[in-house]
Point group: C2
Chain length 403, copies 2
């Protein structure tokens, strides 16, 4: 799949209409205006599945969606997404606001409020500007469209510090899947990691959809690391309205699951490539582990190490920091068995440096994309993570994101 998807690339998807507009949410907080409110609506009830942040401080929309999905996972109709305010750490008032937004969408679309999901992203601890949300929703419902351009507009409208929209698709017989995502900061594994909405016109039972999404997220969004932080709002949502007539069941679930995973992986990698201040895209292979869980834990320690990430930024093949990060991952390892490669150049064997060509190592380290392999020499399990460097721009963006 190309790095940037054009509307003309998208396959036809039945029964979903979208709208995005500038509801003045950023303006409310005194910031430059931009599209900040998005609605995705299905013409018929959807089976829906979602994976949410495991952060114990959950935003109001996460709590609301969990309740709505638990109540009727086969009857979702729409999802509303706002930026500028995360509606997190907002107490009872935040919960009431999230429910009110769902009610306004339901009223305008002619469904029950429990059939509407909401997602928020932005600054934590701020309340939604409710009059603007209400006016925006009313206007949005009038402007819904099923054009491919509407998907592009939605992918743009959910962006915060992202610099590029993230859009991916897949086909499955006569059915299609289209997904959008936003990422940029607060990206860490072991959770749903960001906001993503995937719509499909295949017909799937919600339990099966949930199992497939869980598996897809585990192999995509849960394998990327930007800064190791975990948001209060992370959500990956799939809605399946069945309107293509293509049924997914136990006979073809593996193939559909593979398509869903591939789509999630495309979105996940796009998130890393567009991480805050990113200048390097790193594929991190941990091999020779005793278990996948241990390989992942070591990969995560490396990918979240500020020292490793700044060395990637500097284009410095300072591999010692990678071994040091592995050593503090709380996973048994034998330093004397470690081996390390930058792309195809082996730098370390048996835990000590080989007599490699420093200029060649530096050349690898200075490429925009680098594959690093650390072999633990302990077993057969492995894991792959995708991560990025830590740059001056990351600090600039996050030092001044809010004020």
């Amino acid at each position: 799949m190309p790095l940037e998807i054009l509307p003309t690339d998208l396959p036809p998807l039945r029964g979903f209409r979208l709208g995005a507009l500038d509801a003045g949410l950023y303006a409310h907080f005194g910031k430059p205006t931009r599209p900040d409110l998005t609605l995705i609506a299905s013409a018929s009830d959807c089976a829906a599945a979602a994976v949410f942040t495991t952060n114990l401080v959950k935003a109001a929309p996460v709590l609301l969606d969990q309740a709505h999905l638990a109540a009727q996972p086969s009857a979702m109709r729409a999802v509303l997404i706002n930026t500028a305010s995360a509606n997190a750490c907002t107490g009872e008032r935040g919960l009431a606001n999230a429910a009110q937004c769902a009610a306004w969408v339901a009223e305008a679309l002619g469904c029950q409020k429990e059939q509407v999901l909401v997602m928020s992203t932005g600054v934590i601890g701020t309340h939604l500007p409710m009059p603007r949300m209400q006016a925006g929703i009313e206007q949005l419902v009038q402007s819904l469209s099923d054009s491919p351009e509407a998907w592009s507009a939605a992918a743009r409208a959910i962006m915060t510090t992202d610099t590029r929209p993230k859009l991916a698709y897949a086909t499955f017989g006569g059915a299609a899947l289209i997904g959008i995502a936003k990422g940029a900061g607060m990206i860490a594994p072991n959770m749903a990691t960001m906001l993503s909405v995937i719509a499909t016109d295949a017909h799937i039972a919600p339990d099966l959809l949930q199992a497939m999404l869980r598996r897809a997220v585990d192999r995509s969004f849960n394998c990327i690391v930007v800064d190791g932080d975990m948001s209060t709002n992370d959500t990956a949502l799939v809605m399946a309205n069945g309107m293509s007539g293509v049924r997914v069941d136990e006979h073809n679930a593996a193939r559909f699951g593979a398509a869903l995973t591939e789509l999630c992986l495309n979105l996940a990698q796009a998130i890393v490539r567009d991480g805050e201040g990113v200048t390097k895209f790193i594929t991190l292979h941990i091999t020779g582990a005793r278990s996948v869980a241990e390989a992942r834990r070591i990969g995560n320690a490396i990918a979240t190490s500020a020292l490793v990430k700044t060395a990637f930024y500097g284009g410095d093949p300072n591999w010692g920091r990678i071994l040091a990060a592995a050593g503090r991952a709380d996973v048994p390892l034998d330093p004397a068995r470690l081996a390390l490669w930058y792309n195809d150049l082996q730098l370390v064997a048996e835990g000590a440096p080989l007599n490699y060509d420093e200029a060649r190592a530096k050349l690898h380290a200075q490429q925009r994309e680098l594959s690093v392999r650390l072999d633990l020499g302990l077993g057969e399990a492995e894991a792959t993570l995708w991560t990025c460097d830590l740059s001056h721009d990351y600090v600039s963006i996050n030092g001044h994101y809010r004020t």
Copy 2:
């Protein structure tokens, strides 16, 4: 204790002589020359105690010192400290080099090689330049001095990316303690965190000294966070030669332990204040926890969060990031009970923002020193950590430290 200790502030300490010089170690690696080799020697056998990194990838000097201390903890005579190379990830050759350095020191001082400890700090994966180490040791032994200036020189010579020497002292009746430390990067809790050598002329049994050091480190070096990384070389060492005639035993151990802890805390806080690129010094109080361990785990999640640290750098009272970091610390908490203060200004109660004065919050956030308190509302336990911001300079220093 003032932030910068002058040689004239130091109390007299019997029986320790020091030397520091430029042995050309940096020059060997093509870097600007500076003092890079330090020797601290006692006129008589010392009881010694040490806390080492818990990183599984341990540098050769750590492995050597662990063996020497285990063999004869009452008979240490000297410690040699080099910068420029960490002698970590260097395999058998690294171990042999560390032992050879100890042997050279022993030969020159007229003691056994097992009575000599070694410490290294610098780039991982590089071998010690042995001819320069040998020549440097011979020269050092000729230049040993017990002057207070020698302590200042030693504190300077063990610096790497530190910008200021770290020196602290305490007195205990007629005995004294003097300590030096280096820190700057790779500072995280739950380990010995950096290099520190503390010398005292009190008389203490090694077991008691080890117990007191462990306790002191737990309340000082293990409560500071610069970047969450954990080095391969971290070591805190105490040597007690007894030459003051002051005996520390079960009757006065608590008072001596308090003095040792205070000294370690001074060094630890100096490390944070001089952390790589630091512009803000943050005292982080976690209160209302169910246990000290849980309070610390939450404090650590906050102190290592890149998003929290960049907000500190920007002087932005973006407290939502603090709550979000607390929520992913793998500690049970109730978001609705969280309360947060910047200095004396309460920003959050019951997990939601108070109607505080934003300008005042910003004023607090922009001070060079800030005290942040997060109350969990769950119990009576608490913990205090000291940490810092993440600045552009941190990225510059670590993006280009090696090359």
